[in-house]
């Protein structure tokens, strides 16, 4: 009897706890990790980009997702000077910054805001340059230091970018995630209030949604920007919610508590693709999952040993067992679409017998135990680090090499890496612009630390010279040749073994339309429409 009462109570409650009119204009996106800040200029992890670039900010130009051409965003038009050194941008008028409970703009967007946004990154003397810029952040000022010599204000709605040398990548850089426009007025207000660091955590932009709140449990709330200058979808409230468990995210997508989820579990992709109410969005990226050999560690210091070990590892099995359909196999660091990709090295990599022979010739000591370090849990580079490590361990054992798996949790990881106390490390790297330098420099430069990507402790004068030369190289063919040489070197020295190029995956309920996913700059809910549930 009590059970019947209880069940009928539950049924009544469940009938009324979901309020359709409220959920109609609210979109909930469940992500796997929390953003590190709300400014894509200083944070380049996928979660931060998703939470900021397209939602909160606008850029001067953007790339049309269909035609891949540059189209106006906050700049309405632009002209290039005869000598190809000056770009003059005409700015859009009557564009308002977000009005929130912590900032009310007194003027429309103008040239001062453009100058502020770029000078913060570009000018080392700028008062905001050092704010929240704790380490020498390579990505922070790299793109513009080489590129620009100055930015000038012509009048309130015209700015001029002066290049240090003719370079066609200016527009691409202006369309990248780090070229978002901040409010100079808001920055001044924060400076007078004495809390300039808030600019990256309580953001003001001109984007389709304004920031409302962020609590440390991982819920970010956005509100529709009523003053947005461009068309909008019907979403009034946008909510990001962080839940690291892919299974829980999927369960919430099924129960309607999430409208879209990032990175569904690789092992569930097949089930998800069969669900009629969910569409699976996959985009190929240049993000790569890799195994770093610590070139400073005694046991794998010799290149021939690293080459041999790499030959023993069967990446195809890893792909099938760990990634399912969430990644594509690769044996190069660069993605297949990159212009700098060296067409092909002919040898097939996986060859355990050869590997064993080479190890014997290199006089490898089979009695020692290699240490494979990995982060515990999973992230976007690897759905299951431990399983991957176990497969590698089994591969190595097949040729008689002993190894030990050490998984380190997030807060001990950085320290562990800095100590350099490992032989191999399972990791991955994000790539943000389609330039080979953006992947080679963090991985191979002497100035890059394990923290910024160089987990193999690779430092080689020749590689460094090639890297630096290629950046300033004006002859494109020569630049390509330089990158070919770098790839030859990687092949030869084997500081890294590429495992897979990971796909960007989002599962979105069929009721949500027009969500755009850009693998480089993040997800875009600007035009999203939620259809009637009935």
């Amino acid at each position: 009897m009590r059970l019947i009462c209880l069940l009928s109570l539950i049924a009544t409650l469940s009938g009324c706890y979901q309020n359709k009119t409220l959920t109609q204009n609210t979109l909930i996106y469940c992500t796997d990790s929390q953003p590190t800040s709300f400014n894509p200029q200083i944070s380049d992890d996928i979660a931060s980009l998703d939470a900021t670039t397209h939602q909160l900010f606008s850029r001067l130009v953007k790339i049309d997702p269909n035609t891949n051409e540059f189209i106006p965003d906050l700049a309405t038009s632009w002209q290039q000077s005869e000598d190809k050194l000056r770009y003059r941008f005409t700015l859009r008028e009557n564009v308002s910054f977000h009005q929130t409970d912590y900032f009310t703009p007194s003027r429309y967007f103008n040239a001062d805001d453009v100058l502020f946004s770029f000078n913060r990154m570009f000018d080392h003397q700028h008062p905001y340059h050092i704010i929240n810029n704790k380490t020498v952040n390579y990505f922070y000022n790299h793109p513009f230091t080489e590129l620009l010599s100055s930015i000038n204000k012509i009048d309130d709605h015209t700015v001029e970018f002066v290049l240090s040398k003719p370079d066609v990548t200016l527009l691409a850089n202006l369309a990248a995630h780090y070229a978002v426009i901040h409010s100079a007025e808001y920055a001044e207000q924060l400076m007078t209030q004495g809390q300039p660091e808030q600019i990256d955590f309580k953001p003001i932009g001109t984007g389709p949604f304004s920031f409302k709140s962020y609590d440390s449990n991982g819920t970010i709330r956005y509100q529709k920007n009523q003053q947005y200058w461009h068309s909008l979808g019907n979403i009034d409230d946008l909510i990001f919610f962080t839940n690291p468990s892919a299974t829980k995210r999927y369960a919430k997508l099924l129960s309607g508590e999430c409208d879209a989820i990032s990175y569904p579990a690789a092992s569930q992709l097949e089930t998800i693709s069969q669900n009629k109410n969910i569409s699976l969005n996959s985009k190929s990226t240049a993000n790569i999952s890799l195994l770093a050999f610590n070139t400073k560690a005694e046991k794998v210091a010799a290149p021939q040993i690293r080459r041999a070990l790499a030959k023993a590892i069967d990446t195809e099995t890893i792909l099938q067992a760990v990634y399912f359909q969430s990644a594509t196999q690769t044996d190069t660091l660069l993605s297949k679409q990159s212009w700098a990709l060296k067409p092909r090295f002919n040898e097939t990599l996986f060859n355990p017998e050869q590997a064993k022979k080479e190890l014997i010739t290199a006089q490898y000591d089979f009695s020692q135990t290699l240490q494979i370090v990995l982060p515990d849990g999973a992230n976007v580079f690897n759905p299951n680090f431990h399983k991957t490590a176990e497969l590698i361990q089994a591969n190595l054992l097949a040729i008689g090499v002993q190894s030990k798996i050490v998984s380190v949790n997030d807060n001990g990881l950085q320290e562990h890496l800095n100590r350099g106390d490992y032989d191999m490390y399972l990791t991955g790297i994000n790539v943000h612009i389609k330039d080979p330098d953006s992947i080679f420099r963090p991985l191979l430069s002497c100035h890059s630390t394990p923290e910024t990507g160089n987990t193999s402790y690779w430092c080689d004068a020749k590689t460094q010279a090639l890297l630096d030369k290629s950046l300033t190289e004006s002859n494109f063919a020569q630049r390509i040749r330089n990158y070919y040489q770098i790839q030859d070197q990687i092949q030869e020295q084997r500081p890294y073994l590429p495992i897979a190029h990971v796909l960007r995956l989002d599962a979105i309920a069929k009721t949500i339309l027009n969500v755009e996913v850009n693998p480089l700059t993040g997800i875009n809910f600007q035009n999203a429409i939620k259809q009637d549930l009935n």
Partner: protein
Amino acid sequence: MLSFLIRRLNLLVITAFILTILAFAIDRTILIHHQTKAPIAQDYILQYFAYLWDLLSANIGHSALNHQPLLQRGLTFFASTLELCFVALLFSSIIAIPLGLLAGLFRNTKLDYAIMTIAIIGLALPVFWVGVMAGLLPSVWGDILPVDGNMSLVYDVPVVTGFLLIDTLFVTPQYGLFAFFDRVAHLILPAAVLSFFLIAEIVRLTRHSMTMVMRSNYIQTAYAKGFSRTKIVFVHALNNALPPIIPQLRLQLSTILSFAMTIEIVFNLNGIGTWLYNSLKSGDYHALPAGMLIITGFILIFSIAIEIMMVIISPIRRGSLYAN
């Protein structure tokens, strides 16, 4: 009366003193562990008093991650845990007390065996396992109950008391009662799982207490007077069978709280269990002494409150009021 209160409070002060020393020790261990330079030799006793002064002015430090005051955040999360415990207690009392009374009345009959078997199974099942299993239920029934989170994200409920069931009532102008119902729906499964253990415990205690009462002389006298069984049970037995259960339940308080913290992690509720778990995972170790102080402080104050209440409602215990 006064001397009784002083005696009780004395106990509270001594225990609290030991607890603060413990919290202080943990806090210093964390500090020393995180210091890169060699720690400066300082007087620990002076440091302890400074720490105590901070505690008294309700300041137990800030989170290393987001610089929010730990006490305030910890209490907000703890309120959510308490809410879960309270709902579960209410729910299990409604079910378990009648069952326990029946089992006690019909001791060693088939009914008694049936009830006790169910209770013992409830006691034997590991609570996190029941949680995981219960999480699967809605998908069997067709998704009518939420299994994850404190409440739907659609509702933006500002923290007033920390008790979401109350806070949702403050936002009725905006959402009507939907936010409240949503919270109730999110509580049903975790509270039911927590009740599993509680029901078993309460049934056992009530049964025992009822048996004891039914065996006592005054009940025998009542029978001898020729009263009907119904009258004896409702007028004489119940009044005396229920009060002894309360101090027994008090002893279970810490078990209930730790079960609630486990269940929170299973159901992803924002309670003190999840808070501590996440803080430790992300290296914010200062949450540990803060959480310890909040939980133990609550248990301490609550047990003393129960004891005082017992003295007020139960004549047998009232004797201790006048003891010297």
